[in-house]
């Protein structure tokens, strides 16, 4: 369990973490979300005793991190996978960390196997890909077999197969009753891994809720229809009590009628349908709605349409609301 009680951290005039209180519970993968610069890493560093909070307290398992004896047996953390000495091998890197906490060589071998790194264990880390460094960082976090684990952006640099592996891995860790806190700036990533979400922006807590709650909160779904006889179809659908919103590109957004019923209605009147897309408001959109006011750095309107995460998702890509919200906040 990780407990933050009114933690603030100021760097000169900049407030990185602002009166943040939260409890990260065991048995869940908790996604720690926020735009770049929201204070995720700083918060994790405060939990690990690396940064001193300006005010407030951070406890791990009920104790301040600095008072832990052999802390790696209590907390495992991956902050920055590239924080390595290039001249050392994975084996030496892990061995030195293990030795500092009285952890044996056998465990070093175990975590190398656990992360699929045995084959490269005796190569210098300067030759590793980012994905391999991430695995090495996860191996280091697992050395003490700790009940609390924290990972800062662990998915960066992993290939598709690695991402799949890491999701299952985190879920297993949580299923074993461990506390797992995983940060990311990508909602789409967290939606598939985390069952609880903590969202921060500009150092402030924006939301602390289960993934299911966030989905429910963002539940607005509709059906996108394209037809050469859109106007006729719109009238027919509206006659059945559904709401039809013509889209700028000529398509129709239908709410209140299922996709199958829209299709049947068109078929019954011999109207060709070129596209029939049930759309669900994505978590990505719900996340953007939450953090929209708190993004420190944002591009012009185009940027949100070009965002690969939302482009992959028909709902948010087609939703002009995300672009409309792209007004700079400063």
């Amino acid at each position: 369990m990780i407990e933050l009680d009114r933690v603030s951290k100021r760097f000169g005039p900049v407030t990185a973490v602002d009166d943040l209180s939260l409890v990260v519970r065991p048995g869940h993968v908790t996604g720690f979300l926020g735009p770049n610069g929201a204070g995720k890493t700083t918060t994790m560093k405060i939990i690990l005793g690396l940064d001193a909070p300006t005010s407030g307290t951070a406890l791990v398992g009920g104790r301040p991190y600095g008072t832990l004896v052999r802390p790696l047996r209590q907390v495992g953390a991956l902050l920055d996978a590239t924080a390595l000495h290039g001249g050392r091998t994975a084996w030496v890197h892990l061995l030195s960390i293990a030795q500092s906490n009285g952890i044996g060589r056998r465990r070093v071998t175990e975590v190398l196997r656990l992360t699929g790194m045995e084959a490269v264990a005796h190569r210098r880390v300067s030759g590793y890909s980012l994905g391999m460094k991430q695995r090495l960082g996860i191996a280091a976090a697992m050395l003490g077999d700790p009940p609390v684990l924290m990972f800062d952006e662990p998915v960066n640099g992993l290939d598709t197969e690695g991402i799949g592996w890491i999701r299952v891995f985190f879920k297993e860790l949580a299923a074993e009753g461990r506390t797992v806190l995983v940060s990311s700036h990508l909602m789409s990533e967290m939606a598939q891994t985390a069952d609880h979400l903590v969202v921060i922006g500009r150092g402030q807590l924006l939301a602390d809720l289960s993934t299911a709650e966030l989905i429910a909160r963002s539940a607005h779904h509709d059906v996108l229809v394209r037809s050469p006889r859109a106007a006729e179809l719109a009238a027919l659908i509206a006659a059945r009590g559904a709401t039809v919103t013509p889209q700028p590109d000529g398509a129709l957004a239908v709410t209140g009628l299922a996709a199958a019923d829209v299709g049947d209605e068109a078929a019954a009147h011999g109207i060709a349908v070129h596209a029939l897309i049930p759309r669900q408001a994505s978590l990505e959109q719900a996340y953007l709605d939450l953090t929209g006011e708190s993004t420190d750095y944002r591009g012009a309107d185009l940027a949100s349409a070009a965002d690969p995460a939302s482009a992959a998702d028909p709902a948010s890509a087609a939703d002009p609301a995300s672009a409309a919200e792209g007004t700079p906040t400063r």
């Binding site: 004896v69 902050l79 009285g102 656990l114 490269v120 077999d145 074993e176």
Partner: protein, 283 residues
């Protein structure tokens, strides 16, 4: 190809902590055990890097060769005034080794700060002064051993050259063993200073520059007008080292015992400053 192996890990099976009783039940290890653990960690890091061996090779080989060369130069030069101190070549050559040895200790901290590895280190060992002590102990022990090897080998090489010019002394001569032993301390003193400066400055280039500046620049006090050159100069690290290691110490400076304290005060002060700063700063 080993890449293939890295990208196909086995199914996740981290099930070792499941249902484990809280580790508060474990008896906390004794201070001695924890100290041994941290020393083992730092020793592993120290010996696993190639630059360690290159630096030590330079630090050992250069002064040994250099001392014989200086001895030859001193003894074969035109004789004017009293014969030079027979132990001077050994020390002068060590002063060159100091430059090589200044780099390695600075890196023990600065390389971790510049890569971010220091966060891993401090997360594993939250008592940061313990980290400072362990790095100082490992680096200090290795450089002390290297320094003594250099001091004694240089001594024998130097005296072999000087003997042929009838200027040498033997190890059994009164005062010689102590002076040669003291010679060997110089590398260690500078190494500890480097460890401390690495922890204070946290950048490799800055740390090395500072180490060399602190060790060498104060020697410029020799250009001050008499008697201030000696009055201030006797507090400098290298001048103190010369007093401690000379067979016939100069009379314008401190006695060798006081000079030894001056010599040791430099790394002590730097380590103290590092110990004060290391717990106060965010990483």
């Amino acid at each position: 190809m080993s890449h293939a192996a890295a990208s196909t890990p086995p199914a996740p099976a981290p099930a070792t902590a499941a249902g484990r009783p809280p580790s508060a039940a474990e008896r906390p290890p004794s201070v001695a055990v924890r100290a041994r653990d941290v020393l083992a960690c730092e020793w592993t890091k120290f010996r696993a890097v190639r630059s360690t061996y290159w630096t030590l090779l330079v630090a050992v080989a250069t002064p040994i060769g250099f001392s014989a060369f200086i001895a030859f130069a001193l003894s074969s030069g035109p004789a004017k005034g009293p014969a030079p101190d027979p132990l001077l070549p050994g020390l002068l050559s060590l002063e060159y080794a100091v430059l090589a040895v200044s780099v390695l200790p600075v890196l023990t901290f600065s390389s971790e700060f510049s890569t971010g590895l220091i966060r891993t280190t401090f997360a594993a060992i939250p008592r940061r002064r313990v980290v400072l002590a362990a790095k100082a102990a490992v680096t200090g022990a290795v450089t002390l051993a290297a320094g003594e090897v250099v001091a004694f080998v240089s001594f024998f090489a130097t005296q072999a050259v000087l003997h042929s010019h009838h200027q040498g002394v033997s190890l059994s001569h009164p005062g010689v063993p102590g002076a040669v032993l003291a010679d060997g301390i110089l590398l260690c003193v500078c190494a500890l200073l480097g460890v401390a400066l690495g922890a204070i400055i946290r950048h490799t280039a800055g740390g090395i520059a500072a180490a060399i500046a602190v060790i060498v620049l104060p020697s410029l006090t020799v250009v001050l007008p008499v008697p201030w050159n000696d009055r201030i100069g006797r507090f400098t690290l290298l001048e103190a080292a010369r007093q401690v290691t000379a067979l016939h110490p100069g009379t314008t400076s401190f006695a060798p015992a006081i000079s030894l304290l001056v010599l040791l005060a430099w790394p002590a002060a730097a380590l103290l400053a590092a110990a004060l700063l290391i717990t106060r700063r965010d990483t």
